[in-house]
């Protein structure tokens, strides 16, 4: 009973820190989705002035560790460009995560768009739609359902990867857990921390499963 009591005492701090974890996950995934769609369309483009930079972007952000990207934005940029001093830890983490996740989402979105039968674009074009219109009205809406499972996967990975921000002392769930563990010299706090991550993952899995069903109505 004593340990339950202890855990209950820690919960307000843990829940508060979970808010930071959730906020960082949600804001960076939403930003990354927007950036990812632009990158994916750029990669599909036949114009090499457009597709080469997008390919280079994905190559760089997928090819280097997220942690170093985070360090670079939080510690490195202010040294090179003093006027770019990002004093907010959250903002630095948000930028690093958004840029990084966008690279992965770009590939997911590109693959989903390219998996749509070529006949769809041909039918749309033969009805007088321009390329952009055909993409927006016909091809991309069909690709949503195909991108939901891998995007869900990515979302859950991000949720857990946000634990990295504890290294720049942003008060997320992992940072708060570490603080309690060292201050109270108790490893017991890892139990509620793990449970909270698990509950969040479960909630998002359910949400994405419902989304997938919603986008499958026509099949």
């Amino acid at each position: 009973m004593d340990s339950l009591h202890q855990i209950a005492n820690w919960m307000p701090a843990l829940v508060h820190a979970t808010g930071t974890t959730l906020a960082l996950t949600a804001t960076s995934v939403v930003t990354a989705l927007a950036l990812g769609i632009v990158l994916a369309l750029a990669k599909i483009s036949g114009n090499s002035w457009i597709n080469k930079p997008a390919t280079a972007y994905v190559f760089f952000f997928r090819g280097t560790p997220l942690l170093i990207q985070l360090f670079f934005i939080y510690f490195g940029l202010p040294q090179i460009f003093p006027e770019l001093n990002i004093s907010s830890r959250f903002l630095a983490a948000y930028i690093a995560f958004s840029l990084n996740i966008a690279a992965y989402l770009a590939e997911i979105i590109r693959a989903a768009i390219q998996s749509i039968d070529k006949g769809q674009m041909e039918a749309a074009r033969s009805l007088g739609m321009g390329y952009g219109q055909a993409m927006r009205l016909v091809v991309i809406p069909q690709s949503y359902r195909r991108m939901i499972p891998p995007v869900c996967n990515e979302f859950i990975m991000v949720l857990k990867d946000t634990a990295l921000v504890s290294i720049i002392a942003l008060n997320d769930l992992t940072f708060q857990t570490k603080m309690i563990a060292s201050n109270k010299a108790s490893a017991l706090v890892y139990v509620p921390a793990l449970a909270i991550y698990l509950v969040l993952t479960a909630i998002f899995t359910i949400i994405f499963n419902n989304l997938e069903k919603k986008f499958s109505v026509y099949e």
């Binding site: 039968d117 006949g119 769809q120 041909e122 039918a123 749309a124 074009r125 033969s126 009805l127 007088g128 739609m129 321009g130 219109q133 009205l137 016909v138 809406p141 069909q142 109505v217 026509y218 099949e219």
Partner: protein
């Protein structure tokens, strides 16, 4: 008035000459059936006319307006993007595999282009779609998604969808080849009605019955070239081209 005129058009895929020097015209109100063995370039020829494939050489006129002219792949005419799509809108296309938009209902499939390309407004487009779907015998299927329709029903929606843009000529690319035999008749029936209503049609088909009954002219293509052209009464009873004779024989043996 010639709706379509091609002058010596060629289409080469890397090293394969799919279409060689095809010159053909289709007059207003005329129904032309293009037949021939598979791989003879019929579909490629059709796809060149509405810009789905880019010709390597030759000239294409739509409504006697030069729309495409190329020499060794190099364009010889410059047309603005807007004019190009205006010209292309004079052609409607029906595909072998229907290519309906699976995320839209039958009615939405028909409405999509009128609303977004012609900007005629949702209400007018809905009325147009219902009218056209009723004409192809699908008055009870307005709100069905394509996955819930049979192949024959899907192809009829596709015909209604193309008609909704009020084209001057309908291009059919083997419209019944992907259908179960018992569904072919429904689609052919709609096409015969369309022909009777005066629509100009260029139909790539394996349905000899349709070519014989509904076409004004039959074009026999072989190895990317036009082997023979003639009225069906002559072509089917007494083909002149030896390859056409061979082709007819192989069909009769089936």
């Amino acid at each position: 008035m010639l709706i379509i005129r091609t002058e010596n058009i060629c289409k080469t895929f890397v090293t394969v000459e799919a279409v060689k020097n095809v010159s053909l015209s289709v007059d207003q109100g005329e129904v032309v059936a293009v037949i021939g063995p598979s791989g003879s370039g019929k579909s490629t020829f059709l796809r060149c006319i509405n810009g789905l494939e880019t010709i390597s050489d030759g000239e294409i006129y739509i409504d006697e307006e030069l729309f495409e002219k190329r020499v060794h792949g190099h364009p010889q005419v410059r047309i603005s993007k807007e004019r190009r799509s205006e010209i292309l809108l004079k052609t409607g296309m029906v595909f072998q595999r229907f290519n309906l938009f699976p995320h839209k209902t039958a009615k939405e499939n028909v409405m999509l282009a009128p609303v977004n390309v012609k900007k005629i407004g949702e209400k007018a487009a809905a009325a147009l779609a219902e009218d056209l779907l009723a004409k192809v015998g699908l008055a009870d299927k307005f709100d069905e998604f394509p996955a819930k329709l049979s192949g024959g029903q899907q192809q009829r929606v596709a015909i209604a969808r193309a008609l909704a843009m009020a084209p001057e000529i309908m291009l059919f690319d083997e419209p019944t080849s992907a259908l179960d035999p018992e569904l072919v008749e429904d689609v052919l029936h709609v096409m015969v009605d369309l022909a009777k209503s005066g629509m100009t049609m260029l139909v790539v088909t394996h349905e000899m019955g349709f070519a014989r009954e509904a076409a004004d002219r039959v074009v026999f293509m072989v190895d990317g070239e036009v082997g023979e052209v003639g009225p069906p009464s002559e072509f089917f009873t007494n083909p002149q081209n030896p390859r056409a004779r061979q082709f007819m024989k192989s069909i009769l043996h089936q």
